[in-house]
Symmetry: C2
Subunit: 425 residues, 2 copies
């Protein structure tokens, strides 16, 4: 167990998704789903750790450069020491006295911290022969809370309050683990609703997904109101009245415009509206939330750290918490946000899609269910159909549900052929 | 006037300031003041544009890489077309559909946007043979407002409201220009109070600065309460009862701790407390503001965009607005924040120090005085004594006041010898 980190490699992987308009929305018309990918080597040839952060193309090279600046800090460290106090892993990779300036805890440097921190978790889980979700579900409440940096959170949640929260459901954890192993965890899908798809494509994708078991469908909106009205009608007709429709504006509106536009879409009975305005606008989201209730506001894929989430959750600006496995600084900070969401009674529905994100978030939703929320009410993890063939252990879906990963690690090891084919020059 | 941008060079300049503990504070113990510096070339050998962003050492290379990703977007553009609608310059450099993901408008990519956008302003001012402050002071209210991206601001400030704000003081602008040319603009200084200095050094620096005309002195706090109490006493005794003391915690406290600690320092009559907690914690700053009034809360050097400032200002979380010339996306976004501050009646006291920042902010405070606030009450621009010898046209101080720059451009062209001596390998 005394493995030492001896070096690392990085890979700038870019998948040319913009050619097919998969992933197109009102803010992101032409994404090339990309991974800034890091492999941590140890003094054992049998053990490496795999982590990535997600971008949509240009700028992936900046994350690679930032990963190089951060991964360097791990060389010579023993895995056992690093994970003896997991909060120190987070602090080490987000608290470098000079690098902190170019964040702090946001943007390129924080996306990179996620890749590196996640690679250490992957390594740790592999060393224990467990998938990451299982590794954390096996922790006691005190061990779980010891992963979290409570700095700047103490006005909302202290470490001892977090432990109390976790103790509520501690006794029943093993039942939920068994349930997950047989039933999986519910997902929703965005595969139908990209803005670049024709009405026919939208209809066909919806039929296909419905047949495969999904009951929640997300559609992108915000470019043109008449288009939105037509496309929402097509989707609602196809999915039926009982399924959940989510609409996603990808930050295109100002606050007053969001309130007006959503009022026009209300007749399609959306379950939530995602990213109605700029992700930094906590108070704007609160104003929208108050105006459009009972429709919920969902946000989080660009909410960059636990301090932002603390405010969103505490002031009623977010009714669905869509934390992102790469935007936040890795597993440690994700656990912090899950605890905050539980503290304020807001369901966690992690953001996914892209490449690698579904593989990550399946672990996170299982941790949330087993350790934190103990319920699946109003909880679905995002799912998208693309690019799973490029990881070694892709997600397994059954009837629209994520089946728990069985292999050890954090599930984002890329295949050799993906690395060969999609390395960016 | 139809210059075309034909290429650019970047320089990673790092000054080894950590060797002398200049710039040391509770969060940043060992900064090496650095500039990610860009030179834009045109089809005229006589005209280049100079811009930089500021970091404290490691991570400067990330800003350089991001500048390279962004400056590329300008090649082949005509300067005249770029500046015909200055808001489009901002949008072009912050709205790339893929690069936006690694911000948006924050962190490395936004620091880099500042360097590039400022280089275009420098170029434009040089082409007009004016310093940047004068270029903007010569604009009409409509032209000034046309520099600003009001996207995401309309719930607080619209373009037409901004024009109204600017029209209030339009008639009297030339008087204020004349006044500045003879009297300069007031500054305050942090040169005395770095955390790494001994009491003797603190006393000596304070005496020296007082003799040179300063009446506002800032001291770093937050590492150790007993130390702070002693050092504040030394400084207050040396500066006298009438001078303004500012204390700067550089984000070290949680919200409850900030309120408690500041209550202990209140007896030294601080004018403001700077960065009491994490810069993303708008609602935390509001709580502190309410608890410590009438002591003011100052923040802004890490407040990363106009959307964050909108909320800080609108909800009473900030009583002194310390915008940063590099953290915000260049001149355009600085103008947005000045307008927001005026809208909410909060004085602007720009952050400076480091390297190049004083050279930038002298322009900004003059613009604020001439066009926006029309008052110097409660307004001082930060000043620090270091590293001015490395720019071609360093600030000129008289009696603790910034004298208006006369040379054309934005004042951050580095000397050849600085580039030669401090280029980082």
């Amino acid at each position: 167990m005394s493995y030492k980190i001896t070096g690392f490699e990085t890979y700038d992987l870019r998948f040319p998704t913009s050619q097919h308009l998969d992933g197109s929305d009102a803010m992101n018309p032409d994404p090339d789903y990309s991974a800034a990918y890091v492999v941590l080597h140890t003094d054992s040839h049998e053990l490496s750790g795999y982590g990535m952060t997600f971008t949509i193309g240009r700028g992936n090279e900046l994350c690679i450069a930032a990963i190089q600046a951060l991964a360097r800090l791990l060389i010579g460290q023993s895995l056992h020491q690093l994970m003896a106090q997991p909060v120190l892993l987070y602090r080490k990779l987000t608290g470098d006295s000079q690098l902190r300036w170019v964040g702090p805890e946001k943007g390129v440097i924080h996306l990179a911290a996620a890749a590196v921190i996640n690679a250490v978790w992957d390594l740790w889980a592999r060393a224990q022969n467990k998938p990451v979700w299982r590794l954390i579900c096996d922790m006691s409440p005190a061990e779980f809370a010891a992963c979290v940096d409570f700095r700047y959170l103490s006005d909302a949640l202290t470490q001892s309050q977090a432990i109390e929260l976790l103790q509520r459901h501690e006794q029943s954890k093993s039942q939920r683990v068994q349930e997950l192993l047989s039933e999986g965890y519910p997902s929703y899908t965005t595969s139908a609703g990209w803005l670049g798809y024709s009405d026919e494509a939208l209809r066909g994708k919806c039929q296909d997904l419905k047949a495969r078991g999904w009951t929640h469908f997300k559609i992108k909106v915000g470019r043109d109101l008449q288009d939105d009205l037509r496309r929402c009608q097509v989707l609602r007709a196809e999915m039926g009245p009982d399924a959940h429709m989510m609409v996603d504006a990808n930050q295109v509106w100002d606050v007053p415009q969001a309130i007006e536009w959503i009022s026009q879409l209300a007749k399609f009975d959306p379950w939530f509206v995602e990213e109605p305005t700029n992700p930094d606008d906590i108070l704007g989201h609160r104003e929208i939330s108050q105006a459009i209730a009972p429709i919920r506001v969902a946000s989080g894929e660009m909410c960059h750290n636990r301090i932002m989430f603390k405010q969103y959750l505490a002031c009623g600006a977010m009714q669905v918490c869509q934390l992102d496995s790469c935007r936040l600084g890795g597993v440690n900070e994700v656990l912090a946000v899950m605890l905050l969401a539980a503290r304020f009674g807001v369901p966690v529905c992690p953001h996914a899609g892209g490449v690698g994100l579904c593989e990550y978030v399946q672990h996170l939703s299982m941790i949330d269910y087993v350790c934190v929320s103990a319920t699946q009410v109003d909880r679905v993890a995002e799912y998208s159909d693309h690019l799973h063939e490029y990881v070694c252990e892709p997600v397994v879906m059954k009837n629209g549900r994520y089946m728990p990963p069985q292999d050890s690690g954090y599930s984002v090891k890329f295949t050799d052929s993906a690395i060969h084919q999609f390395s960016f020059q």
